[in-house]
């Protein structure tokens, strides 16, 4: 499993006019700063690295209140998200600690702040399929974003156009076995993927993760949030979406 990170910064002078001061970094330097930031986040939060804060908290070697300010912020946001989603989003479950489900969207949003600070208006940052799309692409149009098919990761099923929004997709490309809940005798997992457009990638990511956990009820849960649109794909091959999602379809 890999997580490629893509940063696209169109030509600033052509897109956004000349920079307001000579001290503004070049697009190259700004992109390098963003990648440096993602490497710091990985070192601190990766559950795959034994010396990361995440691993040390998981093993009980580091108390949350003694962790870095970044980790404490993630813990605070995780708790807020757990409450917001009626417990569906929980970084502590089964005795393990893993905040990855929140960190990705949070880190992309923080990386976007680096580019904000550096005076960039138009850019696009993608990490592991979650995206913050600001301003316009180098064609001067909204960013065109493909939604990957859960049935074939090499194919797209829709294209959306985004401007100053975030998008995140939760789901799986592995169809689960037909496990039925022994308590309810219920149906097997039916949701293949859930794509959420929100005001920014952090909000879209955390709500997509929680709503995917809710199964078919997730789209109804999200329909209660103004400013969010949802596109749900079921293994049956049917997509269900909130009417406002259609506004973003690339014609």
């Amino acid at each position: 499993m890999g997580m490629p990170i893509t940063v696209v910064i169109p030509d600033r002078e052509r897109m956004d006019g000349p920079p307001p001061g000579a001290w503004f970094p070049t697009a190259d330097a700004a992109a390098d700063a963003v990648f440096g930031y993602f490497r710091e986040v990985d070192a601190r939060f990766s559950p795959y690295l034994p010396e990361s804060e995440t691993s040390r908290i998981d093993r009980g070697e580091l108390l949350p209140q003694e962790s870095s300010s970044e980790m404490r912020e993630v813990l605070r946001l995780s708790e807020e998200t757990r409450t917001l989603t009626n417990g569906y989003f929980d970084v502590r479950c089964g005795g393990r600690f893993d905040p990855s489900g929140l960190v990705k969207g949070w880190a992309i949003a923080r990386a976007a702040k680096i580019l904000d600070r550096d005076g960039f208006i138009s850019f696009c940052i993608e990490a592991g399929g979650d995206i913050e799309a600001r301003g316009a692409s180098d064609e001067g149009a909204p960013w065109r974003i493909g939604i990957r098919s859960p049935f074939d990761p090499s194919k797209l099923i829709r294209s959306i156009s985004l401007h100053n929004r975030g998008v995140a997709t939760s789901g799986t490309y592995i169809r689960g076995p037909h496990i039925y809940n022994p308590l309810t005798g219920g149906r097997p997992q039916e949701i293949a993927s859930l794509t959420v457009i929100g005001p920014n990638v952090y909000e879209a990511d955390r709500l997509a993760t929680a709503a995917f956990a809710m199964g078919q009820a997730g789209i109804q849960f999200l329909a209660g949030f103004p400013d969010f649109e949802t596109y749900m794909v079921e293994w049956s091959g049917t997509a269900t979406f909130t009417p406002g999602f259609a506004r973003y379809f690339t014609s």
Binding site: M3, I5, F38, I147, L156, S159, N181
Partner: protein, 131 residues
């Protein structure tokens, strides 16, 4: 694309193909990497890995020192927790049939989530097989 446009893609570790007996794994941001060769034959179960909405657990079948098959033993199932959902008025929703289409796009949104838990469980199974 304008030659002053900056587009960078970080090096990505990707699965090299299950049948080939070589796998690559990465952390949330794609840095850690393990490659498995020369495994002990047998069946190896990975740890249960949490995927936020349930657990994923896989079993690796190793034949002739190579990863021959992966079986999913456990997979998230949401039904047990459905009663926690607030009752909300059923919103108006639209449906369409999903169809693969060709689009020219700048970037792609797609899921990585359960597949991460799957890879972690498989990594553990392969560690037991001597990777």
């Amino acid at each position: 694309m304008n030659n002053r446009t900056r587009k960078k893609i970080a090096a990505a570790a990707m699965a090299a193909g299950l049948g080939a007996g070589a796998m690559a794994f990465a952390g949330p941001l794609g840095i850690a990497r393990t490659v498995a060769y020369g495994l002990s034959d047998g069946r190896f179960s990975g740890k249960r890995e949490y995927a936020y909405y349930g657990f994923v657990r896989v079993e690796a079948l190793v034949k002739s020192g190579k990863l021959a098959d992966v079986r999913v033993l456990e997979y998230p199932n949401d039904n047990g927790r459905s009663h926690y959902i607030n009752s909300v008025a059923l919103p108006y929703l639209v449906q369409e049939a999903v169809d693969a289409q060709s689009f020219r796009v700048d970037v792609i949104s797609g899921a990585t989530f359960t597949s991460e838990a799957y890879m972690k469980s498989l990594q553990e199974a392969l560690r037991q097989a001597g990777a």
